[in-house]
Amino acid sequence: MSHATELVQRSAWQVVIPDAPQALGLAGGRVFIAGCEGTALAVDSGTGQTVGSQQVEGGLLGIAPSGDGSKAILAGPFGSWLWTIDGGDVVELAGKSWCSVARWANEQRFALATGRYVSVFDQTGELLWKSEQFPSTVTDFSWLGSYRRLAVASYGGVHLVEPRPGGSSTLMPFRGSLLALASTPNGRWIVSGNQDATLQVFRSDKDVRLEMEGYPSKISRVAFDSTGRFLANDGAPEVSVWDFRGKGPSGTAPVLLVPSDRSGDPEIGSFSWHPSKPLIAVGWDDGDCLIYRPTDGVHGKPLGALDQVFAADSSVEALHWGHDGRSIFVAESSGLISRCDVIADEAA
């Protein structure tokens, strides 16, 4: 554990769920937590008061709140559900298929990956469109640009599909198992993290694919910052941050974000970009949560954390920066969920 500072004040509030958190979402002033045994909880982000809870059979893998926080999609190995927080209604969405990812396009539509399909629903849970079968279970997908296309990660490449009857489908091929997907806000760059320990970088408007290799293990987390300039990914003991300015990261080296204490070989638990600034919060499995500013780093050289550091009591499973950039919500393996307020101007 490291040196808690006065720049981040921990424990504005804390709540506990009975199972290990799998995912954490934030919308409409509410924090949403999904637990591995099927506990879903919605709490007021300001007070920590519970505003809704659910329990589903078979566990949960993800949770996706709507923009206003009134609804959330619960995704699990044995099914997916649309949960209306006020009133507690739960609508089953797509049978018993494995579902680990769901994403809202806007208040009216959302998509979820169920087994080898992607489906789009309206806000009431009515099916609007279902894809053709993909080559394997869809591991991730991303809405592109104006929500008229989806980038879908499945074995063999990224499929660009228009989710409407008769819509086009284009494959950007990569012969491998894709685990995670991220796209820039303008939809120009699409990046996959892969089982073969590479990053594959695609241009959605050109037949271009770049490969970043040399990682020691598979890459299962990728995330662009809000501007689309920086990409963060795992796959190494450090978080790698690539700069996509101009022609992209080809020929460059990433900035590496290192834990504060390497003696126990801490692994990356989760990371989250600041909503508007080039800052990233990283939670490690030794409990450390650190804030980094990648622009301070020299490419190819490790970058230590800013002073804003706080220590959790157990492994950090998920974290999410608040929409105002002044708080970070942290979910630990013990089931503890807490809000940490950033009180230094430098980071906030």
């Binding site: 199972d19 591995c36 566990g59 494995w98 394997s136 089982q195 293990s217 598979k218």
Partner: protein, 346 residues
Amino acid sequence: MSFSTEDAATEADRALAMDDRIPVTVLTGFLGSGKTTLLNRVLKEEHGMRIAVIENEFGEIGIDDALIIDSEEEIFEMNNGCICCTVRGDLIRILGELVKRRDKFDRIIIETTGLADPAPVAQTFFVDDEIRSTCRLDAIVTVVDACHALVHLDEVKPVGVENESVEQIAFADRVILNKADLVHEHELEKVEARIRSINHSVQIIRARFADAPLSEILDVGAFDLDRVLEGDPAFLVDTDHQHDLTVTSVGIECEGSLDEERWTLWLRTLLATKGVDIFRSKGILSIDGTDRRVVFQAVHMLLDSDVGKEWGEQARVNRLVFIGRNLDRDELEAGFRSCLVTMAVA
């Protein structure tokens, strides 16, 4: 420091007991062999263990009383250009999910379809670091119907089509010879001989209504070669040479130490060029200049090795076995022996 055999076995057992990774049993078998009956028995027997089952077929009869997760048999080729290196993407995903809930169960059984090639299941445990650090492949158990085994094993397939029942025997650490009560003793012996001609080191357990002792199926530690060899030093080495079979096993036993560089080059070259035909290989080796055994396991081309126990005062005897198709015993032996360190003659 040295160990008696008994001490060493105890040490290996202790090491296994201290290994807190989740043990995983791969259950395979011919269609109609009684695989699901065995699974239901394992689930119902009062052993106090909580078991999660991953299955990718609808069983012959329903499976009761378990956390059962359907998989989709998503077989992926690895990006190394070798067609024999395939893994199961669905298993990686499901195991990754299960380990997060590990306080809810003690072990995992993966039930494969009656016609499935076990290699992609086993290889999944070789290629994913996260799985290797949280799960331990305990054994591959194959259920065989004693009445119909020879028919399945001797079935001639069209050119290019694998006889998967032969592969299931080749990959097995344990064969449950089920419905043994329905077959005469001499027939059973013929079936056992045929099984051993494919995989001489496999342990065969006769059963009726799949009533094999659970201790022979669970916590076998078959992938812990140190442990296996303490119990049966001749485990990897056969005496009955078979040259007339397409799929067979070649055991090599020889005293001495290996030049690490030569051995590594030879094995990697062998698996790179013949990995498609070599289903499984495993062994315990004496490497020149090291005090500890080196243990290796490979499924087709994918290889894993680790440092085992100290040799102590025991004779440094290399023991290894190759199981596969069209194996040339003389070539394998000669290749292996060329890696041995030879003493310079003054």
